[in-house]
Structure formats: C-alpha cells, structure tokens
C-alpha cells in the first residue's frame, strides 16, 4: 500500500534507506532550526534534518520522513508526543507489532 510507512525502533533505519518511515524518540538536542538529535525507542541515536525549521518541541516527538544513506533522516512532518510519553513501552509495543506485522502492512 502506497500510504504505508514502517514504524521503526531506530537501529533498523539502515534497512529502510530511501523509504518513508515513522520514528518516535526523545529529543536530545535541537539547534533551534532544522536539526534535531534524538534517541529512538531502542536507544539508538538518530539525527533528523527537517526541510523547514521546527520549534516548540516536547520531550518526545514523532517524525515522518525519509531515511538517508548516511543514517540520518530528512524530516517532513513532526508531532509532539509530550513530556510523559513512555518511549520504553512504545519500543516494546513495536516488537509486538513487528511479530504481527501482517495486521499493519499489506
């Protein structure tokens, strides 16, 4: 399905180069403009470079974007997930979803 986007845990980004994916993580740093370093659900660090400046980020964010060959992401859309999002449980849920991926992807 053309609108399907894989929800990734972080270290599996390299398996999805040039694909549009969804990554949820904790913001480690933000340059105040387009570059955000985040820690993904599996603990890996990912640099996201948005195509436009982002602001008012909460502790956890969800990014939709393209995976680059160098392991960074080009971010297209961003949703604030607040300061109380449980990234660890989300990571555990991703494992469950991956074990039953037929439900979520065609």
């Amino acid at each position: 399905m053309d609108t399907f986007k894989a929800r990734l845990a972080g270290s599996d980004l390299n398996d999805h180069v040039d694909e549009t994916v969804v990554l949820v993580g904790e913001v480690l740093s933000h340059d105040g403009s387009t570059v955000v370093d985040m820690q993904a659900a599996d603990g890996s660090n990912v640099r996201v470079i948005f195509d436009a400046a982002v602001s008012d980020l909460t502790k956890c964010i969800e990014v939709t974007g393209k995976v680059n060959a160098d392991g960074t992401m080009t971010g297209w859309t961003m949703s604030n997930f607040g300061d109380n999002f449980d990234l660890k449980k989300y990571g555990e849920a991703l494992k469950v979803m991956d074990a039953h991926r037929g439900i979520f992807q065609g």
Binding site: D42, T64, N84, A93, V96, M97, I103
Partner: protein, 294 residues
Amino acid sequence: MDGGFGGGGFGDYNTSNGGGFMTGEGGGFSSQSPADAGIKRISTVTPVCVKQVKDAQRGDDTSFIVNGVAVDKVALVAVIRNVQQKATRISYNVEDHTGLIDVMQYLSGGDDEEEPQVPEEVAQNREGRYVRIVASIRAGEDDSKRLNAFLITPIDDHNELTYHFLNVVYANLVSSHGILGERKLGLQAGQPRGSQPSQAGMAGQGMGTATNGATAFNNTPMDTGLPRNLQAVLNVIQTEGSASETGVGMSTILDRLRPQGFNEPQIRSAVEELLNEGQVYSTVDDDHFKSTDD
C-alpha cells in the same frame, strides 16, 4: 531493553492517566459467547488500524468483516492530515501510517432552523493532531472505504497510541485464536461469535486490577458482555430514548436506575464511559442521550 510484553508491565497504567491497556478509555476487551448470540447482540467497538478498515469485506447486513468477524463500530487512533468543514459536516483525511482514509463527521443542530454548531472539542481537531475516532465503516460503489464518525476526540496522552496498537493486535489474536481461557468454557477457538473483542466491555472485568498484562488476560473471565452498570444505562437509553429525537435525559436515567441500587456517581460514570466508547451520543445538550444503534 528488558522485560517482555507481560513482564514489562502495562498494568501500571490504570484509569488515572487517561488511557491504558487496562482501562475503559484506552483498551481492553470483552466478547459475547456464541450462547449469547440468540439473546441480544451487544454492540461493540473494535480496535482497528486503517489498513484493516480498507481491507474490510461487506458482511451479510450493514456490518463489515474485519479479520473474519463482523464488526459494528471501530475505534482508531490516527493523525489528521486534512480538515474541511461544510455546513452540516466536517470531512477529515486521517492516517495511522498503515493507510490513509476519509472520515465524515455530521454536525447536529438544535432544530431545522438552526445552523449546526461545532462543539468545542470538535473545533480542536486540527491538521497534525492525533485523535481517537469511533466510527462505522461505509463503502462506496467502487468498494473504497470511509468512516462515519460518532466521536472524534483529540488525544492529549500519546501513550494511548501505544495502547491502541496493542489492542489491535490483541483483538486480532482473539478473532483468530479465541480468547484465552475460552477452552475452559467449552468454546472452540475461532468459533463464530456475535461480536469482536471490544473496548466497551472491558471495564470492571478485572483487567484494571491486574498488575501484569499477561496475568490479566489469563485470569479474566471475558465471556460476559457489558458491565452491569453500563448495560443498565444503555438499556434505559435504548428503550426510552429511541422514540424521541432528543433521546433520554439524565434525570430520567437517574430516576430509572436509582431504584435498582445504582447511585448517581455510578450512573454518570457509566454514561461517560458509554459516550467515550461511542455506544451513545449526546443530542440537544450534554444531558440528553441516544444510542448510536437507533
């Protein structure tokens, strides 16, 4: 990352944080046994993802088949990508990253002369915002699916997204393999049932008191329908509200159920839960209700 699905513990999320695997708001399940089918079909809300809605097949009646089971209403958690408001309805385009789908929400006016009002919570449903949707599935002539929403509420606690996805997996497992413990009741896994595991019936069935997700599933006798207080309120709304455009008022519900031993907080809590689950909706004001089955 330590722990697993059960040991990691989803049980520490309870009703206090507005979501959760064990709560009426965020997830959980009940089902009817086949023996119940001849009595009454309890309307249920089935947690699904967009892909499942798009893959749904038409059932015998107005229902759609998701994963081999007829569903009445579905619940999704998705992000709004587009909103268009018209005189009598709001059209949304939403996605949960398994697919993209159109959702229609009709606005109700006080009377024919009055312009439909946009409720405050509906006005908060902006592009880029995650929302929880309770809806029925509709299909066009080309079999493309869309949703007619009873309820679209903004999500403040995004942990609800996590719980929703787990609920989707669990509902799928139950419809494929049967409910854990079902064999003890003499039922066969995968046996057709009148309803899918739902979000409506889980409250008060023991899941909320468990401290461990896996333990909760094993110990919960999930062969009953709605909890008693919810069923009692739903019965009043269905029987006394169906003939009226405005439905039934809260004062009537209180009058009918107090003699049955329910107190006002219990009744109001049950109404709130039925509203959240999309079983009922408010009509002319926040104190009048109709069943979504009417």
